[in-house]
């Protein structure tokens, strides 16, 4: 039989040793992990969509908007503060800066991958450092944003007769229905934790590059795998940015 003959020469696909998807086991598994992670994030964002569309939307003019428990807030009226110039109305500017930081760190990551293909250790080190810096900068921005969101800046709203509530927690918030703050914490928190994990992994890659582990191994595939994860984190932020802050 022809197939037996081929197998004897080790040419059959079923003999193993070939990668039908043209990617190594590790890279493939990273792709499928990211797939499952995409489902988790989609579940969160879609639940946000469900709850938001089941609440009343604000109908009036944007300028006349006030926070109320009766309708879902307009994001640009909630997220309008920037560090050092608090009190000024700068809607979505800070979150725009955060988006820019994350996109830039994605670029530096892909440049590190490119340098890895060329076995250029110095360049991998340089671009990994920039990527780390971007990740840490993003996390710092998020820390500020959470603090600001939790403490609140403008006049609070009355929760019970005579008491005013400032900021937000999982039970109450001054911005709108309780679910609004809950989703803010869960979605940006889950994403932020991914960024944190990414920064840890990036540091590991940087460390292994500096110690010359990948150079001795003969390839920089780990940079590629962690790069895939890092781009995914950036990708999720693109969706969070649109569905949580813009729409």
């Amino acid at each position: 039989m022809a197939s037996t003959a081929a197998a004897a020469h080790g040419e059959s696909t079923w003999d193993g040793g070939s990668s039908p998807m043209g990617a190594s086991y590790g890279k493939l598994m990273m792709w499928f992990f990211l797939m499952s992670d995409a489902f988790t994030f989609s579940a969160l964002l879609i639940t946000y969509g469900l709850v938001r569309s089941s609440h009343k939307a604000y109908q009036g003019a944007v300028d006349a908007f006030t926070f109320s428990q009766n309708y879902w807030p307009i994001p640009e009226k909630v997220f309008e503060s920037v560090p050092f110039i608090e009190g000024w109305s700068a809607p979505l500017v800070f979150v725009g800066i955060m988006t820019f930081i994350l996109i830039m760190s994605s670029v530096t990551m892909v440049l590190a991958v490119e340098a890895g293909h060329r076995m250029d250790r110095k360049a991998v080190e340089k671009w990994m450092l920039w990527t780390l810096l971007g990740g840490i900068a993003f996390l710092s921005c998020q820390a500020w944003e959470w603090t600001h969101f939790i403490h609140g800046a403008h006049a609070g709203k009355a929760v019970v007769e005579g008491t005013t509530f400032f900021g937000a927690n999982l039970a109450h918030n001054q911005y709108g229905p309780p679910d609004f703050a809950a989703f803010f914490f869960f979605i940006t928190g889950f994403h932020g934790f991914h960024v944190f994990s990414g920064v840890c992994l990036n540091f590991l890659i940087y460390f292994n590059t500096v110690t010359g582990l990948y150079e001795r191994r003969g390839h920089y595939e780990m940079v590629e795998k962690v790069g895939l994860y890092w781009h995914f984190v950036d990708l999720v932020w693109v969706f969070v940015f649109t569905f949580f802050y813009l729409v």
Binding site: P20, M21, G22, A23, L28, W31, M35, A38, F39, S42, A43, I46, T47, G49, L50, V51, R52, S53, S54, H55, K56, V62, I74, E76, P91, L92, G96, T99, F100, I103, M104, S106, V107, M109, V110, L111, E114, A115, H117, R118, M119, D120, R121, A123, G212, E215, R216, G227, L228, H231, F232, D234, L235, V238, F239, T242, L246, V247
Partner: protein
């Protein structure tokens, strides 16, 4: 130093200028789309048209990130489709749940 020892048998290739230029172009496109989204956020009235523009731009950005940065566009077809096809479930989930949410808001 270990580095000096290694240098003898490691060949460092020169930077692929064309590839690097392409990556920066993609970064520029992503930045421009985000800037354009900002422009729309403050110049258009809220409504289905605005939402659709945002979603369309998000998909374009996602395509650039996954296709170019994650290199999926250049992978083997089997890998490409085994990543893209399962996304149908996400689209279906989105449609079903938003539909459900609107129905809830009507009976509230």
């Amino acid at each position: 130093m270990a580095h000096a020892e290694n240098e003898s048998h490691i060949t460092v290739l020169p930077p692929d200028k064309e590839k690097i230029k392409k990556l920066w172009t993609v970064a520029g496109i992503l930045g421009l789309i985000t800037a354009f989204e900002f422009l729309i956020a403050f110049t258009m009235h809220h409504g289905p048209l605005k939402t659709s523009i945002f979603i369309a731009m998000t998909i374009v950005k996602a395509a650039y990130i996954v296709g170019e940065f994650m290199h999926l566009r250049y992978e083997v077809k089997v890998l490409f489709w085994s990543i893209l096809i399962p996304l149908i479930f996400i689209v279906w989930m989105l449609v079903a749940f938003i539909y459900e949410g609107i129905a809830i808001s009507l009976v509230r």
